[in-house]
Symmetry: C2
DNA sequence: ACTATATCCTACTGCTTTACTAGGAATAAG
DNA sequence: CTTATTCCTAGTAAAGCAGTAGGATATAGT
């Protein structure tokens, strides 16, 4: 029960980008060196971040990536959902309230998943890139 | 980011055991049928639960399993830690405060893992088998 | 035009984990 | 002695994880 390295690397790289004031692009090579991450692995991660429109790219020499939006407006939840898939999604918890598929009646365990999901959502939504970069969370 | 079926099955089976008043053992066959789970898979899960001394077993005909302690005294956290391994354990968060290995100085991202871990621990520790079985959590 | 530096994209690979299945030994009740 | 059950090991197909490899495309500077 932990996040994958994709999430960790991606989040760390995004915090680095949040530390840059202007919109000049930063290359993956620089980020990878600074954070000691495989550059090619980071490329794949950033393809997903770009498709999710969390970063924008500049191709060619002196190119790289920059944040697509204000760092204070990008939540950790958004990033992790892109890199990790839905956080604690269970069919159990679907909106139509169909309940568990395995038997009739309510599942006595689904309340555990729901509480986890609610709490995770709150925490991750309450943290954004600017806050992380400034280290204001404690 | 979700718990494995091991955790789900194990937790559901434990709730079933919590619904039995006396200490008469319930066989895995009965639990497996009721919960629509593979009996042999459930066996493996219960080997771990027994080794962790959360359940006790009675071998032979009319044997089975029963809870080793009062259901109000067995938390969801204990069960999930047995079946899933440590919840959100990161080297980052070790007590010695060594910090992240990947670079000097504090990791700006570890606060995310820590907050997750703290919240998870609180929630899972606050729910026990009796409460789940009675459906008191909402 | 040419070169160096980037992103972009696909494919592959070794490893681990997951969710089981198979088969048998040991134990106990009737 | 049969039946029901736990106990234990091994195997296995599929998926996921954490990368690596190699090339196509785009752009800045010379």
């Amino acid at each position: 029960m932990k996040f994958s390295t994709r999430s960790e690397y991606g989040l760390r790289a995004m915090v680095v980008l949040a530390g840059i004031q202007d919109k000049s692009p930063l290359s993956l090579r620089q980020i990878a060196e600074q954070e000691r991450i495989s550059e090619q692995y980071l490329e794949q991660i950033f393809m997903d971040l770009r498709k999710a429109e969390l970063v924008q790219s500049v191709r060619g020499a002196y190119g790289g990536y920059y944040l697509a939006r204000d760092p204070a407006d990008i939540t950790v939840k958004e990033i992790l959902e892109v890199l990790e898939g839905p956080i604690f999604h269970y069919e159990c918890l679907s909106a139509d309230g169909q309940g568990c598929s395995f038997k009739e009646g309510p599942c006595l365990v689904q309340v555990v998943w729901r509480k986890m999901q609610e709490s995770m959502t709150d925490i991750l939504q309450g943290m954004n890139l600017q806050g992380l970069q400034e280290g204001i969370y404690e």
